[in-house]
């Protein structure tokens, strides 16, 4: 380019300009004719509809991801996009087979045994080798947990200590005897051999993992390429579902701009999988021939939290119920989410262990204006009362806020919609006197068991950071006792039922809606596979025999 520019400088201005632009275009044409159009993607050769078993060619999946991954190292804080790219490269001690499953499978761990409420004896497979050839031992588990602690990886704080008892055996001591803590911490930390990590620190390379793929190229914030290992340590019959490697090469490209993502969905030859699609482009993607569009449930639930403290009108249970009855969820899903979401039939996630299907038969404040008006009258709240709604800054809060405002207008309440930046959100939420009445919070499954999420979000003795009790701002001892009972080893389904009923009856929070994560993929991919967090695991997807996209 500099040569072009300098040539231009010697010519008269106008000719210089023409030369620069023409050269730029020619450069694009020259490379674009062969690879330029594909280099961010991956086109099959001309006219090829050939067997996937075609010799000497490696199958390749190019994936467009809507958000960037800025770091590729095992001891990183989880996010959905990081989860997708790390899958297959780094492995965990054990994890649930899939989202919503109660089947817990060992990945690096061969077996484990509960010694007491907080102590577990664990044994690793004794033939684990990472992609650099380093053996993975119990010492490496201890090292990985220490690094996770050091990096503040949230759930690792439940591991008090790792004691290495034998080269491939260790004792894990937990800080909490709560239900599901062991499973949660096993799923929390990606593991890596100390030798691999120290090498990566020393030479700036990508840390080798024990998974079936090795990262061969990582451009922070832009793209990642992983390739299948020929020497993956686990035998096929014992390989975890998420450690399967059904495609040879995977390229992840960051495509954070929605129109670019829409273009990628329309170019299945260049990009075979797009995840996740903005609601605004899902319908168009459904019309593209040769492309399947699939919506997956999110682990996040958008929850209406009422300020039940003395500082808000929402301290009135009847008002809270009036608001819930007045909320038209169909209008919300259609109007604000373009149909790409769902309203939960009751309080709790059906993908958590302990969820009781029978709860769905009850009335979870189904849209009923008459009931809403009656409740409002019972609350003694005059017409025209203004309530303050807060949510994280963004289009979703604007849309959902305006839907809720129109719903409440039908019963004579006014809603003031306020968006707050993520940086200030917890400050507002914690300050009950700051004026908020309704807050929309993104609540996430906090482990395999429902009680873990209930405990986290609803109880002051759980894991939330509320200074005034539960997330709705008041301490309720009856509720706390229910949580304590259910979160102990004696906890039974009846206790969980009691918590559910208590929260629903008191209407402290209202689980409002959940977005779907939508991905599109070429028809030659028969089935997509996700892990316990419903993150796509590209390598484990099922590719048909006529999958014809090659490196």
């Amino acid at each position: 380019m500099s040569a072009i520019a300098s040539r231009g400088m010697k010519k008269p201005w106008a000719r210089g300009l023409a030369a620069v632009l023409a050269a730029a275009l020619l450069a694009g044409c020259a490379s674009g004719g062969n690879e330029g159009g594909q280099s961010a993607g991956n086109q099959a050769a001309d006219g090829q509809v050939v067997s996937a078993a075609q010799e000497g060619r490696r199958t390749k999946a190019t994936v467009a991801l809507a958000s960037a991954v800025n770091v590729f190292a095992p001891y990183s804080k989880w996010n959905p996009y990081l989860g997708i790219q790390y899958a297959g490269v780094y492995e965990r001690l054990a994890e649930r087979e899939q989202f919503g499953s109660d089947s817990f499978q060992g990945v690096l761990m061969k077996s484990w045994e509960k010694v007491d409420d907080v102590t577990y004896d664990c044994v690793l497979y004794d033939y684990i080798v990472d992609s650099d050839g380093n053996p993975f031992t119990a010492e490496d588990v201890k090292f990985s947990v220490d690094k996770a602690h050091e990096n503040g990886i949230a759930d690792s704080k439940y591991i008090e200590s790792i004691e290495v008892t034998e080269p491939y055996a260790f004792t894990m001591k937990l800080t909490d005897s709560g239900v599901g803590i062991f499973e949660m911490v096993c799923e929390t930390c990606w593991m890596a051999a100390r030798a691999a990590f120290e090498k990566s620190e020393a030479d700036g390379s990508i840390c080798a993992g024990t998974g079936p793929y090795v990262c061969v190229e990582f451009i922070s914030g832009s793209s990642t390429q992983v390739e299948k290992r020929d020497d993956y340590w686990q035998t096929p019959e014992l390989t975890a579902v998420t450690s399967r490697a059904n495609v040879d090469v995977i390229v992840y490209n960051t495509v954070s701009e929605t129109t670019q993502m829409a273009i990628s969905t329309e170019d299945p030859a260049g990009t075979q999988i797009c995840a996740w699609l903005n609601e605004s482009i899902v319908e168009d993607a459904r019309t593209i021939p040769g492309v399947t569009v699939e919506s997956k449930e999110s682990i996040q639930m958008k929850t209406i939290v009422f300020n039940a403290s003395e500082y808000s009108a929402c301290s009135s249970e009847a008002l809270r119920k009036a608001i819930c009855y007045a909320t038209d969820n169909d209008a919300l899903i259609t109007g604000a989410l373009s149909g790409i979401g769902y309203a939960p039939p009751t309080f709790g996630s059906p993908y958590a262990i302990g969820y009781n299907k029978a709860w769905e038969s009850g009335d979870y404040y189904n849209y009923d204006i008459e009931k809403a008006k009656a409740m409002l009258a019972e609350a003694g709240i005059p017409e025209g009362t203004v309530l303050k709604f807060y949510g994280p800054a963004g289009a979703e809060t604007e849309k959902t806020g305006s839907v809720l405002a129109s719903c409440l207008a039908a019963i004579g309440l006014k809603l003031e919609v306020n968006a707050v930046e993520a940086a200030t959100q917890s400050t507002y939420l914690n300050d009950l006197a700051s004026g908020w009445d309704i807050f929309i919070a993104a609540t996430t499954l906090k482990g395999p068991y429902l009680i873990q999420s209930y405990s986290y979000y609803c109880s002051s003795v759980g894991l939330n950071n509320q200074v005034n009790g539960a997330m709705w701002g008041v301490r309720d001892d009856d509720f706390e006792n229910l949580v304590d009972k259910s979160n102990s080893k004696d906890g039974a389904q009846a206790d969980l039922d009691a918590i559910h009923d208590y929260v629903v009856d008191n209407c402290y929070v209202y689980q409002w809606f959940s977005n779907y994560f939508t991905c599109s993929y070429v028809d030659a991919i028969k089935e997509t596979v996700t892990n316990f967090k419903n993150n796509l695991v590209v390598g484990a997807c099922e590719f048909s025999a006529d999958y014809a996209y090659y490196e």
Binding site: G221, S222, S264, L463
Partner: protein
């Protein structure tokens, strides 16, 4: 002249320190802090403990002094809160991408905008002038991201000539640079036209013509250097804008530059990364403005004369 350069460089020191203090202070007063980011939703006592361990419970002035010491003496911006990577290393990796993007953007803007502006001025009220004016009006008012998407639709999607996004060879840079520079081309064209119109009516230009110089010599040797001063100022501002403000283009083309870094850091509440990014951007912006001032001093005979006179007086 060298004296002037050194004086300007020396002046940059308080500016950069001032920016650092300002950025640190704004972030210090922003609700929430690094301990909250690291602790997530941990109980309040744990957040307080973390705050104490990180030294965030110390007085403002102590924390500020510590930060200034680390940045200016140890050249260490610290580690990013979220990714745990070295901020200096992150910036070193990302900044060149934004710089390349901005340098080529400004080069095209200058080498296209000045000739177009000169041509328009020399053909005032004729077809060429009208076309150049229309061109500049069109691109001044066209949002960069829209233009970027149109380029993608045409060159990547319809024609398949260029990759739609990502990082790689020269072909990956063409659309981002073009999308980023059209606004600059338009601005510089307009500025050049108006400056040239002012200059070509000046007495010294009439004098140059009356001396029998060719029209080319009159324009290149006499009119253009005098018209360049405001153009250089505008180009300098544009370059700064392209450097820090190309984040929308960076987002459209998935370029991991400093703009993208800053936006991600803001979204993740990564205060240390935000501070590092803003300080480096302001440092380079100051350097660019210095270069623009030196360029003005270089092309303006009056400025040159001013320095020569100062030297003779001594």
């Amino acid at each position: 002249m060298i004296r002037y350069v050194f004086r300007r460089l020396a002046l940059m020191i308080p500016i950069i320190i001032g920016v650092t203090v300002l950025v640190f202070t704004i972030i210090w007063f922003t609700p929430g802090d690094a301990a909250e980011v690291l602790a997530g939703n941990a109980p309040r006592e744990q957040v307080e403990e973390l705050r104490r361990l990180m030294g965030l419970d110390r007085p403002y002035i102590v924390q500020l002094g510590d930060y200034l010491y680390n940045v200016f003496i140890r050249h260490d911006f610290g580690k990013a809160l979220v990714n745990k990577t070295s901020i200096s290393a992150d910036i070193v990796m990302r900044f060149p991408k934004s710089l390349i993007f901005a340098v080529f953007g400004i080069l095209i803007s200058v080498f296209a905008g000045i000739p177009l502006g000169v041509y328009a001025a020399l053909h005032q009220n004729k077809t060429g002038d009208s076309l150049a004016t229309a061109f500049s009006l069109l691109f001044v008012s066209t949002p960069g991201f829209w233009l970027a998407l149109m380029l993608v639709l045409l060159f990547a999607y319809r024609l398949g000539w260029l990759p739609p996004y990502g990082m790689g060879g020269v072909e990956y840079w063409i659309m981002p640079v073009l999308a980023n520079c059209f606004h600059g081309v338009a601005i510089i064209t307009r500025q050049t036209r108006s400056s040239m119109l002012e200059v070509i009516r000046s007495d010294f230009v009439v004098m140059a013509r009356s001396k029998g110089l060719s029209e080319g010599e009159v324009i290149v040797r006499h009119a253009l250097p005098n018209a360049l001063i405001p153009i250089i100022a505008v180009a300098g501002m544009n370059f700064g804008g392209m450097l820090g403000g190309g984040l929308i283009i960076e987002k459209v083309f998935s370029i991991p530059g400093i703009g993208n870094y800053l936006v991600t850091a803001v979204g993740q509440r990564d205060f240390t990364a935000v501070m590092g990014g803003v300080i480096i951007t302001s440092l380079f912006f100051s350097l660019v403005m210095l270069a623009a001032d030196l360029g003005m001093a270089f092309v303006d005979p009056r400025v040159k004369e001013q320095y020569s006179t100062a030297r003779r007086r001594k």
